[in-house]
């Protein structure tokens, strides 16, 4: 054998390559021209009519109020702050929707594979109904046909004087901690991160060496012990504010607006139907041998499901589940149609009209959704590759 000869340096300017470059150059040129064309039109349109442009409006006074805000917001706040209010509202709605849809969806998936004929059938009916009706229609149904028809504040449906439901929303007692409440929140968040990090580290170590430290105890420590200690040490006091009828409406307590309730029900039920199907196919995707091995050992159906099938099904379930979460987050935009103050309603609606700056407003809205999509995709990739990639 002769000594290995290395390949010659590629001749760059083959005619084939030149042709490919020309095609691409023409393509890029066309694209650039198109962008220039649109850009020129737009600037000309804006200039000729003296329309304002740029993001300067974000610091201007907004002048309107919103019904739901987790950040301090008054009509004196800026458009920029209104944007962040909308962002937080959309994120809160997404998060609650994801919790609801996941809980319902897993229940449905399990019901679908249940041996109980009635339950399996009902789950099928539920799934087929909710996934084949447009989400917007479902939102309208919940909002206009159901919640809208609830009685007014004076004739509310009251449960034990604590939970109140009327056409102004769902009122619940609100836990109240005094000023040091944030310390507890911080401790809770820190505990959660700590438990997560410890579990991941232990798992990685185990994957590498076959031995890993025990880690389950980090969870109770992180989630309960730490915040509880903080609660006791900081001397905070906990009380509940109970809603009561004052003037026209109930006051105090925690209020879930009908818009939010309807959005949550609509999104949760719609996406749960999809998740139900995903969970079902995940469960059915687990090798039959696994079930057989477990039943041969004498495990009952429920234990098999809980200990053997579901953990493995998760690997099949998570990628499409991520897609559904993404779809849920994007679909919060439809809640604008039932007056839930999220991005479309606040940014692409009021802000756009009051400032007249369509380009900027819609760009902002799109940027928000893109960053949400990217974040969810990133988190799910992380889960997929770091946590679930062991075994075969």
């Amino acid at each position: 054998m002769t000594a290995p000869v290395l390949p010659p340096r590629q001749i760059f300017w083959t005619r084939r390559r030149v042709k490919s470059l020309v095609v691409q150059a023409v393509f890029l040129g066309g694209l650039a021209w198109l962008f220039y064309f649109l850009f020129a039109n737009t600037t000309a349109n804006l200039q000729r009519q003296g329309i304002a442009s740029g993001f300067g409006f974000l610091s201007q006074r907004a002048g309107f109020d919103v019904s739901l805000s987790f950040l301090p917001f008054t009509s004196d706040s800026s458009y920029g702050r209104a944007f962040w209010v909308a962002v937080v509202n959309a994120l809160v709605l997404s998060a609650l929707g994801i919790v609801l849809a996941t809980v319902l969806g897993f229940g449905l998936g399990l019901a679908r594979v249940s041996k109980n004929w009635l339950i399996a059938r009902l789950a099928t009916v539920y799934i087929e109904i909710f996934r084949n009706i447009p989400l917007l229609l479902q939102l309208f149904f919940w909002y206009f046909a159901i919640l809208r028809q609830l009685p007014g504040p004076k004739e509310s449906l009251v449960l034990a004087d604590l939970v109140i439901l009327n056409n102004r929303g769902l009122y619940m007692p609100r836990p109240q901690v005094d000023q040091s409440g944030w310390v507890i929140m911080v401790c809770f968040a820190a505990g959660l991160c700590m438990a997560l990090v410890m579990t991941l580290r232990a798992r990685q170590q185990r994957l590498k060496t076959g031995h890993g430290p025990k880690c389950w105890f980090w969870w109770p420590i992180g989630l309960f012990a730490l915040p509880l200690t903080a609660y006791v040490l900081s001397g905070a006091s906990l009380s509940f504010v109970i809603p009561e009828l004052r003037g026209f409406n109930y006051r105090g307590g925690m209020l879930m607006l009908p818009e939010m309730l309807a959005a949550l029900l609509g999104l949760g039920f719609y996406i749960s139907a999809a998740i139900g199907e995903i969970v079902r196919s995940g469960i059915q995707g687990v090798d039959r041998g696994q079930v057989e091995a477990a039943s041969a050992l004498g495990l009952g159906r429920r234990d098999i499901m809980r200990l053997v099938v579901l953990p493995q099904a998760m690997r099949i379930i998570i990628p499409p589940l991520a897609t559904q979460y993404l779809s849920l987050a994007k679909n919060t935009s439809l809640a604008a149609a039932i007056a839930f103050p999220e991005i479309i309603s606040i940014v692409a609606g009021t802000t756009l009209t009051q400032t007249g700056q369509a380009l900027e407003a819609i760009t902002l809205a799109m940027l928000f959704y893109m960053s949400v999509s990217l974040s969810i995709a990133a988190v799910m990739n992380f889960l997929n590759y770091r946590v679930l990639r062991h075994g075969n």
Binding site: N45, L46, R48, Q49, G50, I51, A52, G63, F64, D65, V66, S67, T74, S75, D76, F144, R148, Q149, G152, N167, R168, R246, G247, F248, N249, R251, P258, E259, A336, A339, P341, S345, A348, G349, T350, L352, T353, Q354, T355, G356, A358
Partner: protein, 316 residues
């Protein structure tokens, strides 16, 4: 310019609401009718000699300004309040005010509220992206009251929300309140509060930067008002054209010195505009006045001679 486009196209594109009784609303046959619609028809009659040469584009609050800016509509005749911001930053030009309005509140009679100062802690239904939304915020802040806004983009939905009891209060322009009350389940159960919290001069708008077209719309509106001042109606127009006073003759183009050349049309432009639906007062009476379901009083919209502030610039 816009005029050339319209002539080439053969019709005017008119931006209207998505349905407000009295102002612009499709009738049973699906044809648009109303006060704002008739303004467009008058312009079309003046420009194209055909009051029916109009196509209507229903626009939401959000869409209305871009639709005008982008040339999708030639004229925005859509209960739009004239403000400094819209006149400048949004690149609009407003024709004369066709309706002097103000924002008010409507509540259920059973609530026992009689004054806007009692509205603290209420839930208020308001149209998103409107001046009402801004006014109500200012009003409650100024009076140290709190409220919870329920904001829909479509006027229909704001109304339905209030009607179904989602809100204690419905706020909008007084004319809008009157119009919308008609379509409630039980109009009699609702009362309007006496306070007017803002000035809402509603005017047709055109794009900034096309002065010729702006002039035509402006003076068509003035012609309608002038016709009422001069007693010219759709019924007597032919007669008036022949035997009216010099002012009338000038308006209707039958005098020597015609006005057509100045606005870039023929001398009969105003005649056609008035004949299309009548003078300003006739439009009012037909769509908004006491004989209509809206039963609005003319108030500020009376001619200046009758105690109002409607006043046509001299057509000379």
């Amino acid at each position: 310019g816009t005029m050339d486009d319209i002539k080439a196209r053969g019709h005017i594109q008119c931006g209207v609401t998505q349905g407000v009784p009295g102002f612009s609303n499709p009738n049973d046959a699906g044809d648009w009718t109303g006060f704002d619609v008739d303004i467009c028809r008058a312009v079309a009659a003046a420009v194209l000699s055909d009051a029916d040469a109009v196509r209507y584009t229903p626009l939401s609050n959000t869409e209305r300004f871009t639709a005008l800016q982008s040339g999708e509509v030639d004229i925005l005749s859509r209960t739009t309040t004239r403000t400094l911001n819209r006149d400048t930053a949004l690149g609009l030009n407003f024709a004369p005010v066709v309706f002097y309005d103000g924002q008010g509140f409507m509540v259920r009679e059973s609530s026992g509220i009689t004054s806007a100062m009692e509205l603290d802690g209420t839930t208020v239904c308001v149209s998103a992206g409107s001046t009402s939304e801004l006014n109500v915020a200012d009003y409650f802040t100024a009076n140290n009251m709190t409220y919870e806004p329920v904001r829909f983009e479509k006027a229909d939905e704001v109304l339905a929300a209030y009607d179904a009891g989602r809100c204690d209060v419905y706020t909008s322009d007084l004319s809008g309140l009157a119009a919308r009350r008609l379509v409630m389940q039980n109009p009699a159960e609702h009362v309007m509060l006496k306070e007017t919290i803002s000035k809402e001069p509603l005017a047709p708008a055109v794009r900034h930067g096309d002065d010729a077209w702006f002039d035509i719309v402006t003076w068509t509106v003035y012609a309608l008002i002038a016709a009422e001042e001069l007693g010219v109606t759709a019924a007597n127009i032919d007669q008036m054209k022949a035997e009216g006073s010099p002012d009338v003759q000038r308006l209707l183009g039958s005098s020597e010195t015609g006005t057509g050349e100045w606005v870039g049309l023929d001398n009969d432009w105003a005649t056609r505009a008035i004949a299309a639906g009548g003078n300003y007062g006739e439009l009012w009476a037909r769509h908004l006045g006491p004989d209509t379901p809206l039963k609005l009083a003319r108030g500020l919209n009376e001619l200046y001679t009758n105690g109002g502030i409607q006043y046509a610039m001299p057509i000379k």
